[in-house]
């Protein structure tokens, strides 16, 4: 069997059969624990949406997980205990003539101390619940530890007016986004379905996005520095764009996991990619029959002019950001020209890069040229 390039035969590894897929999964273990957690969380989310049979049931037919999360306050033992606390407080307060917190001394109304002690509430809560009590207002904060690190708060407030034994406890719940517990926005009725009251952060929560963006901008900043330092920098920029966008999920890893001490480090790093992974893998498989690779404009509006593109193996093309249309022109078996438009700091430029195969059979950048 003949192959055009030195290691082309290895491309057969990209299209394994069923048995090979099984072996690959066993050798490489592509899912780490965090990936498994994300998948588990996605599954739970979808199961929650589709039906209510996903969780374990208790004897009453209630979902155990839901109870663990936020419904402990609906448990009969809690109701009894809370009522007992209130009755004790009211009766005790009336008998002892204690003063209600925040009520002027000249109030003639029988007063009650509405402090619910931590100990009293803790006996009725789920094991993963933390209780904070204050005078006048009792806060019950429950932290559910599951794969999503879901956090919710349930606030139990008594009336600010003198409490009587037949008054109900007002129960409100807020998520962790609320700045102050007293600013609870959602009041719930006990019969409401608890699940809808919890805002479960997804894997792509805002915090993670901020981290990704920050790293990406740092990386791009480095690129801009290179661009201002030497004329061949735009040639590197093409590589950089590809690296960043090759896997939008992981692109920040390239930044954070690389120990760049200087601009030279970054240049060497990218040059390394140009000579091996990028050129060899993506462009050595072009054949005479194929047209130059054209790039579709990405629909992803989130690119924010960060030079987005994706390599599409199945269609053998790159999905590029905005309206830039780079293409690869084959000059011979050992030489290609890659052209691309891109956004530089100083404006939109066109990069032309000549790539040739060296004696080792690897493609390297021979020269680059950038112009407005």
């Amino acid at each position: 069997m003949k192959y055009k390039n030195k290691y082309d035969f290895l491309n057969q590894l990209a299209e394994p059969d069923d048995a090979e897929l099984e072996e690959i999964s066993e050798i490489c273990n592509p899912l780490d624990n965090s990936s498994k957690s994300r998948i588990m969380a996605l599954c739970k989310e979808k199961m929650d949406m589709k039906n209510n049979n996903f969780y374990e049931k208790n004897d009453s037919g209630q979902n155990v997980d839901v109870i663990k999360k936020i419904s402990w306050y609906k448990h009969p033992s809690f109701t009894i205990a809370a009522s007992a606390v209130l009755i004790t407080a009211v009766v005790g307060g009336s008998l002892l003539g204690l003063k209600k917190f925040g009520v002027p001394d000249d109030t003639q109304t029988p007063e009650a101390v509405t402090t619910i002690s931590t100990t009293q509430l803790q006996t009725t809560k789920a094991s993963d619940t933390t209780i904070i009590s204050t005078t006048g207002t009792a806060f019950a904060k429950t932290t559910v530890s599951d794969t999503l690190s879901t956090t919710s708060e349930i606030i139990i407030t008594t009336q600010t007016e003198p409490v009587t034994a037949d008054e109900d406890i007002e129960i409100t719940t807020v998520n962790t986004e609320a700045e102050m517990p007293n600013e609870a926005v959602d009041e719930i009725q006990p019969q409401e379905t608890p699940e809808i009251l919890i805002e479960i952060p997804t894997q792509n929560d805002a915090e993670n996005y901020e981290i990704l963006d920050s790293d990406a901008y740092e990386f791009m900043d480095a690129y801009y520095k290179i661009a201002s330092l030497e004329s061949c920098a735009p040639g590197i920029s093409f590589d950089l764009k590809t690296i960043i966008s090759h896997d939008s999920f992981n692109y920040c890893v390239l930044v954070t996991d690389s120990d760049f001490q200087s601009v030279d480090d970054i240049r060497n790093y990218m040059h390394h990619y140009m000579t091996d992974s990028f050129i060899e893998k993506y462009h050595s498989s072009l054949t005479d029959d194929e047209d130059p690779i054209y790039f579709n404009a990405a629909e992803d509006e989130d690119s924010q002019q960060r030079l987005f593109c994706k390599y599409r193996r199945r269609t053998d093309s790159l999905v590029w950001c905005k309206d830039t249309v780079p293409f690869v022109e084959k000059l011979s078996d050992d030489a290609y020209t890659v052209s691309a438009e891109y956004y530089a700091v100083t404006g939109r430029k066109t990069l032309k890069m000549n790539v040739v195969r060296d004696n080792d059979g690897l493609f390297k950048i021979n020269s680059t040229e950038a112009y407005y």
């Binding site: 099984e22 999964s25 050798i27 999920f249 893998k281 599409r312």
Partner: protein
């Protein structure tokens, strides 16, 4: 965990059964889905699709009986179908003009003669044997590079090695594979 044990666990606690399923077959399902979606979906979309597979498994366990084969086979069938559907959906969203029939995924349309097909199959078997014979971490490096399309940095991160070490090992491993295949007249 054996299939029977898993079915028992499923009746008792679907959530724990799901967790066990992901632990045991997560890598396998991910690999199947990745093989169909690579090049058109990012990791997030692939994980999304993997989760779809497991949800479908949980919701269709009544359709699964041991007499139909192992749970692994059941999983692989659903994984392939789900991945193909995901591919169509993503391609449509990305305004891709090409449409690939389901059959195209299963049958590689080629103009090869039976002899060439056989020759190709023998070569692939030899290639895989050779890659596996490299030992760790070289086998993983080559597979990550050529199947998972991982960059050197990503591989280095996964294997907790330096990028330079991965690069060198990759070069040497590829050369070793080539020489082995050449010596045995496969190339």
């Amino acid at each position: 965990m054996k299939d029977k044990e898993w079915l028992v666990l499923l009746k008792k606690s679907p959530q724990n059964a799901l967790s066990a399923l992901i632990d045991q077959y997560g890598n396998y399902v991910y690999t199947i889905v990745y093989s169909k979606l690579k090049g058109c979906a990012d990791r997030g979309e692939i994980e999304e699709c993997v989760s779809d597979v497991f949800v479908e498994i949980i919701q269709n366990t009544d359709k699964y009986t041991e007499s139909k084969g192992s749970l692994k086979v059941f999983l692989s069938v659903i994984a392939k179908r789900t991945a193909i559907n995901a591919f169509k959906r993503i391609s449509y969203r990305q305004n891709t003009t090409e449409f690939i029939n389901d059959e195209d995924f299963e049958i590689s349309a080629s103009n090869k003669t039976p002899y060439e097909e056989t020759e190709n199959k023998i070569f692939r078997e030899k290639l895989w044997d050779t890659v596996k014979s490299l030992g760790e971490p070289d086998s993983t490096i080559i597979i990550c590079q050529y199947f998972y399309d991982m960059t050197v940095s990503q591989i280095a991160n996964k294997l907790e090695m330096s990028s330079a070490a991965v690069h060198k090992r990759s070069q040497r491993a590829r050369e070793r594979i080539r020489k082995i295949l050449e010596n045995e007249k496969y190339l």
